[in-house]
């Protein structure tokens, strides 16, 4: 039972990650790979606030998410001023740089990781309570992204992506919309990270590398970029699949490459065969 809870929690957390990344890349058209680092920044911020300063965990989670949103502006503001392409390059540096920073901060556990993080819930129903919390949060995030990308704000995002220059000539501030989308998406990734920290109670800088970026991108592509339900499908599939493989009892040395090949293969197959993803409409529809 404990195992099922932990898989459900992972699915919930990855749904938040995929839905928020979909907001950034699928709807906003902002190409960044740094999504896991905003997960990490909030996870560490929340864990340390609670661990070192005794901030209550729910408040620490909130501050952590806001911290990630704020840090995202540090990345998006200077790079988007130059061009959209620059964001991609800057995001790689941002992610790899911060991983190195975390590895060298002693009070954050440095390279060996941060242990003893406080748990959001305790007692015998801890896992159940946590599962419910994460799934409710995931549903709320999916709804929030849907609300943002449909209706009036969504119309503006759509127009901006159709023709940014014309959009600006109508008195619309494209830069503000991009930075807002990036900050909201990153803040939500932070929420996922903080929830993760207070359930698994252990963080290691190695968890937030490029492989993690690839995994989340795969979820968005496979599920359907620019769709509301795609990230859920992607998160479900790509969390369940690697778990299923573990039942094959392969040695770890074979296991890791098989998972990596699975992600890469899926992205390639989907980009060629069904670029709109499982949920998205087929081309021409």
């Amino acid at each position: 039972m404990e195992y099922i809870y932990s898989v459900l929690i992972l699915i919930g957390i990855y749904t938040i990650m995929a839905a928020s990344f979909n907001l950034i890349i699928g709807y906003g058209g902002l190409i960044s790979i740094a999504h896991p680092i905003f997960f990490a920044l909030a996870a560490y911020a929340s864990a340390l606030l609670n661990l070192r300063l005794g901030v209550p965990i729910p408040l620490a989670i909130l501050i952590g998410a806001l911290f990630s949103a704020g840090m995202s502006v540090m990345l998006s503001l200077p790079s988007l001023r130059v061009s959209g392409d620059y964001l991609l390059i800057a995001s790689i540096g941002f992610q790899l740089g911060f991983i190195e920073v975390i590895k060298n901060i002693e009070f954050a556990g440095a390279a060996s990781g941060l242990t003893g993080i406080g748990s959001l819930y305790s007692g015998p129903t801890r896992s159940l309570a946590f599962t419910v919390t994460v799934l409710v949060a995931a549903a709320a995030v999916v709804w929030l992204v849907h609300w943002l990308t449909h209706g009036e704000y969504g119309r503006a995002i759509q127009a901006m992506r159709d023709d940014e220059e014309c959009f600006a000539s109508l008195g619309r501030n494209a830069m503000a919309i991009k930075i807002t989308i990036f900050a909201v998406g990153s803040g939500l990734a932070g929420l996922a990270g903080a929830l993760y920290a207070h359930y698994f109670q252990f963080l290691s800088p190695e968890q937030f590398g490029i492989v993690q970026s690839a995994l989340i991108l795969t979820m968005v592509v496979v599920g359907g970029m620019g769709t509301t339900l795609g990230p859920i499908v992607g998160a479900l599939l790509l969390t369940a699949l690697p778990q299923a493989i573990t039942f094959l009892n392969m040695p770890p040395s074979v296991m890791a490459p098989v998972q990596g090949m699975l992600y890469t293969g899926l992205v390639l197959v989907f980009l060629f065969v069904r670029p709109a993803g499982l949920v998205g409409k087929k081309a021409g529809q």
Binding site: E152, A159, D162, C166, A168, S169, G171, R172, A176, I177
Partner: protein, 255 residues
């Protein structure tokens, strides 16, 4: 004549070695329709791009009323009330006609997320007002029936009308119209003519880039003739059309 809404002073712009604007001095006043004529490549659209902020001038300054524009970005100039159309229309292809128009108002709280969260009532009221205005504009150009269509479903002339209508939603003091009549005939031609006339009568400063000489003659009080990025001549439309220089450079000698 009242004070100039737009004043272009000594503006200069080069792309590499190509002069697209040289020593441009120009005023557009409230209530007038200024014609901008000249052959392709004369720098007419570039001048619009300089006024609306798409390009930054290499020298000189452009004023809206008494406010210098050079430090303002494209969207800020539009918010001051400088609206423009495009030669190739540039409607948002994935939005409906109505939604295209709703991107037009220069002060629209639709994208203000804080307002959405904390003043939902005020935002809803603004959205209703904008929609009512968009529907009134559509009725004015006779396109009520097209409100839920996408631009691609409309014939070319109607797309042009929608482009013009979206600009009208800005409701500002300046209208820059880039070849509103190109490829347009019949009823649409008459509608556009009427709209341009009405907008000037309502006190807006209108500037029209147009190759259609009869349109210029019918509507414009004053005209400017551009050639190779320079203003060759300006004056009343009659003066200009009678000029030998214009005949030689624009009509190739056969006036």
């Amino acid at each position: 004549m009242s004070a100039a809404a737009i004043r272009v002073v000594d503006v200069r712009k080069h792309f590499g070695g190509i002069v697209v604007a040289e020593n441009i001095n120009l005023e557009i006043s409230a209530g007038e329709i200024l014609g901008l004529i000249g052959p392709n490549g004369a720098g007419k659209t570039t001048l619009f791009n300089l006024i609306s902020g798409i390009h930054a001038p290499d020298g000189g300054e452009i004023f809206f009323r008494d406010q210098a524009l050079s430090r303002l970005s494209v969207y800020r100039r539009a918010r001051l009330g400088i609206a423009r159309t495009w030669q190739n229309i540039r409607l948002f292809p994935t939005l409906s006609v109505l939604d295209n128009l709703l991107m037009g108002p220069r002060h629209y709280p639709g994208e203000a997320l804080f307002a959405a969260l904390f003043q939902p009532g005020a935002r809803r009221a603004a959205a209703h007002a904008a929609q009512a205005r968009a529907e009134a504009v559509l009725a004015r150009i006779g396109l009520e029936g097209a409100r839920d269509k996408t631009p691609g479903e409309l014939p070319f002339g109607q797309q042009k009308l929608v482009g013009l209508a979206r600009t009208l939603m800005n409701d500002g003091e300046v209208l820059l119209l880039d070849e509103p009549m190109a490829g347009v005939e019949g009823q649409v031609y008459e509608t556009i003519k009427q709209v341009v006339r009405d907008e000037a009568a309502a006190g807006r400063a209108v500037c029209v880039v147009e190759h259609n000489v009869s349109f210029i003659r019918d509507l414009c009080t004053r005209a400017v003739f551009m050639f190779n990025g320079r203003i060759e001549q300006s004056g009343t439309v009659e003066e200009l059309l009678a000029s030998d220089k214009l005949a030689e450079l624009y009509f190739g000698g056969k006036k």
